[in-house]
């Protein structure tokens, strides 16, 4: 075992340490900041958390397969950003997208069924964990090529722009994508054409096993986006209220014709890159440090502090979610498998006779 | 040997040499070699068998006398 390295300064300070609590937004200033809303945010984050935990269990039990990338620790990003989106808006996502999908409102039953490869899955079972799609909610996948979703988002936004529609396309991608050529091509193009794209960079500090500072010459990703001439700023991705606030601000601007905006959402994944990995690339202490800033615990604590969360509410929500989850798993297990005779469906569209 | 015996002997030998033919149906004056498609070796066999069974010498000069059933029987019965 080689000695663990801590990310070098100055990135270490910025990247590896959670933002100071003092920088957290003040609750009473938040838009739509009712207790009921915050309870809903808590519920959504918990739903994602419980879903992902269940995936670990099911994967380990051999019930679901493939590459499964968990969102545990990053829930505040998906839930926060989604607060700023309307049903007409679109989302282009990554392979770590269970949270995005659930936050977007794709039914848990459909997402779970997709894990099981059933026709009742949101992609009809064809996609699996990395390729969740849902036309209903304008959820354009589930893209498992790092950076591959950005051009799509640009194109979808181009459509809205050309059709004169006031819509936002939110494009999620990780810090790893910033190193891809497509990132730069797309930020350039989107700005050049003033397209309504909300770029949401989930900076969880690691491109798989490569720390940000080991891959990026400039680790302040918002700065790099800003260099293309679009508004860009960093947000504490462990604070769902902060994320929501930033996303609303950006989305409103995009919707209003302000061209693309860029959010660097600083977050952390608590688990391995994909289900299990040796985790040799980061320090256990670092993980523990970030876990102390668990976005769910953080929100619950603040709500309790504010007297918004009764003693048994969280337990009740949890029990509720567990029931929902059990139901989703039962439904997924009972869902039909596509007959092999349909193997080559969905390669080409059905032809008109 | 009566002509009838001679005729029967000739027929018997011909049956062996040409089993696909029935000498009974042959007109007495029909040319044996032509009718029964006997080649020179068949004919030689015929002559040899005839000489052996009848016990008489048959020279080449006698061959024309064996051309038909009638003449052959006459030849054998004669002498």
């Amino acid at each position: 075992m080689s000695p663990r390295r801590r990310p070098a300064a100055p990135a270490a300070r910025q990247a590896a340490s959670p933002p100071a609590a003092a920088r957290q937004p003040v609750m009473h200033n938040e838009p739509g900041g009712s207790a009921a809303h915050r309870t809903d945010l808590l519920r959504q984050m918990l739903l994602i958390r419980r879903f992902e935990e269940k995936c670990v269990e099911l994967y380990s039990a051999g019930e679901i397969h493939g590459f499964v990338h968990l969102y545990i620790g990053e829930e505040a990003v998906a839930v926060g950003v989604n607060q700023a989106l309307t049903p007409d808006d679109a989302i282009v996502s990554t392979y770590r997208e269970h949270g995005h999908a659930l936050a977007r409102g794709i039914p848990m039953t459909a997402v779970m069924a997709e894990m099981y490869g059933r026709t009742t899955g949101c992609s009809g079972g064809r996609g699996g964990s990395m390729h969740l799609f849902d036309a209903q909610t304008r959820f354009y996948g589930g893209n498992a090529i790092v950076g591959g979703g950005l051009p799509l988002a640009v194109g979808i936004a181009l459509t809205d722009r050309m059709r004169g529609r006031s819509r936002v396309t939110a494009c999620f991608f990780g810090d790893g994508a910033v190193a891809e050529g497509e990132f730069h091509e797309c930020l350039n193009l989107a700005t050049l054409w003033q397209l309504p794209v909300l770029f949401c960079c989930e900076n969880n500090l690691y491109a798989m096993g490569t720390a940000l500072a080991r891959a990026q010459a400039q680790t302040d990703l918002a700065v790099r986006a800003a260099s293309y001439g679009m508004p860009a700023w960093a947000v504490d991705g462990m604070d769902v209220l902060a994320v929501e606030q930033a996303a609303r601000h950006a989305a409103d601007a995009v919707r209003g014709g302000g061209g693309p905006h860029f959010l660097e959402l600083r977050t952390y994944r608590f688990r391995a890159h994909s289900m299990y990995d040796p985790d040799r690339y980061r320090d256990k202490a670092e993980v523990e440090e970030w876990k102390r800033r668990d976005p769910i615990d953080a929100l619950a604590a603040r709500m309790r502090e504010a007297g918004e969360l009764a003693g048994d509410t969280l337990a009740a929500i949890d029990a509720d979610l567990t029931g929902e989850l059990t139901d989703a798993i039962d439904k997924a297990r009972g869902g039909p498998l596509e007959p092999v005779s349909d193997l080559t469906r969905f390669v080409y569209s059905p032809r008109q006779p | 040997m009566t002509p009838e015996q001679a005729r029967q002997m000739i027929k018997d030998i011909l049956r062996e040499i040409a089993p696909d033919c029935d000498p009974d149906t042959l007109p007495g004056d029909a040319d044996l070699r032509d009718s029964l498609e006997l080649d020179s070796l068949d004919f030689l066999n015929f002559v040899e068998e005839l000489a052996q069974r009848s016990g008489r010498r048959i020279d080449e000069d006698d061959y024309p006398k064996l051309a038909t059933l009638a003449s052959g029987a006459a030849f054998l019965a004669g002498s």
Partner: protein, 329 residues
């Protein structure tokens, strides 16, 4: 738009007319690519269209193939009917991720929810001494990919008529235009319009051997057939037109008549489209073959610059004639 002679039209003009017609007929249609606007298109296909349709619909893009091809895909799933022009097939490799991983797979990955009605046009092929990064015929690579439709107009009629059908197709269609064809001139019927993009056609009937080709080598195959006719060998020439999915029926029907096949393909021989066609003939018409299938392909070398070497690297009429003779015996 005038052709090179009275009443004549060039391939380039036919293609331009097709784009123009599509733009007029469907407001969802737009053209984007490098230098399609002010420059008028690298091969002048879109000359004059910017002036007619404006910069919103004739979009010059930065040199970022992945972004603008991907944007075309996004626009297509968003509801538009984009025509994306890539200057040459060699550059298309910069967008291969988008073409392969998105255009060809989205319909499938989404369980049929998102189809990609996108048209990508690009120039392919050699013959203009533009050396090893602008000359290759890589359409065979694209024919490997399920989810794509690959077409190669080799005639004025197809240049004029394939685009509209491609735009009407719910799935991504790649149009490969051989660079040597743009100046090809001929008379195009005034009412020339949409043509199918499903079938191969027999460009010249014959009885003794089937020459199977497409795109830039169709002319060479026809010349070879003419030369063979002088030797009493009647060659049938098939223009595949659509390279994926292949029209097996037309090919096999011909091979069953002639019992011999020569495939002419400007791609490299190894792993080529010609190999695919040959394999299908073996699979489907083996017992009708009276000679091994012959292939005339490009030499396995990056395209050299000097004319004599370039000519030597490419399928030429004498080689086609020789291959046909070999097959006929």
């Amino acid at each position: 738009m005038t052709g090179s002679g009275p009443g004549k039209t060039t391939y380039r003009e036919a293609m331009r007319a097709a784009i123009r017609e599509a733009m007029l007929a469907d407001e969802r249609v737009f053209l984007m690519g490098e230098d399609v606007g002010r420059y008028g298109g690298c091969f002048a296909v879109s000359l004059g269209l910017l002036e007619e349709f404006g910069p919103e619909r004739i979009r010059d893009t930065p040199l970022s193939e992945s972004a603008f091809v991907g944007a075309g895909i996004g626009a297509a799933i968003g509801g538009m009917r984009p025509i994306v022009e890539i200057m040459t097939v060699n550059f298309s490799l910069l967008a291969l991720d988008q073409i392969m991983n998105n255009a060809a797979t989205l319909l499938h990955m989404s369980g049929g929810q998102f189809s990609v009605p996108l048209v990508i046009r690009m120039t392919t092929g050699a013959g203009r001494q533009v050396a090893a990064q602008h000359s290759h015929s890589l359409e065979g690579w694209y024919t490997h990919i399920p989810g794509l439709r690959i077409v190669a107009p080799a005639t004025l009629e197809d240049a004029r008529g394939m685009l509209w059908t491609a735009l009407a197709d719910p799935d991504p269609v790649l149009i490969f235009e051989h660079g040597s064809l743009y100046n090809m001139a001929g008379v195009l019927a005034p009412d020339a319009g949409a043509v199918d993009i499903d079938s191969a056609v027999i460009r010249r009937p014959g009885t003794d051997v089937t020459l199977i080709t497409y795109g830039g080598t169709l002319g060479k195959a026809l010349d070879a057939a003419e030369a063979l006719a002088g030797e009493q060998i009647q060659a049938e020439v098939i223009d595949l037109r659509t390279l994926r999915p292949l029209d097996d029926e037309t090919v096999m029907a011909s091979v069953r008549r002639t019992h011999r096949a020569v495939i002419v393909d400007e791609g490299w021989r190894s792993g080529s489209l010609a190999a695919e066609v040959s394999a299908r003939i073996m699979e489907q018409a083996f017992y009708d073959l009276d000679a091994p299938v012959e292939r005339v392909c490009s030499a396995e070398v990056p395209m050299p610059y000097p004319r004599h070497l370039e000519e030597a690297a490419l399928p030429q009429v004498p080689a086609i004639v020789e291959a046909a003779r070999q097959a006929v015996g």
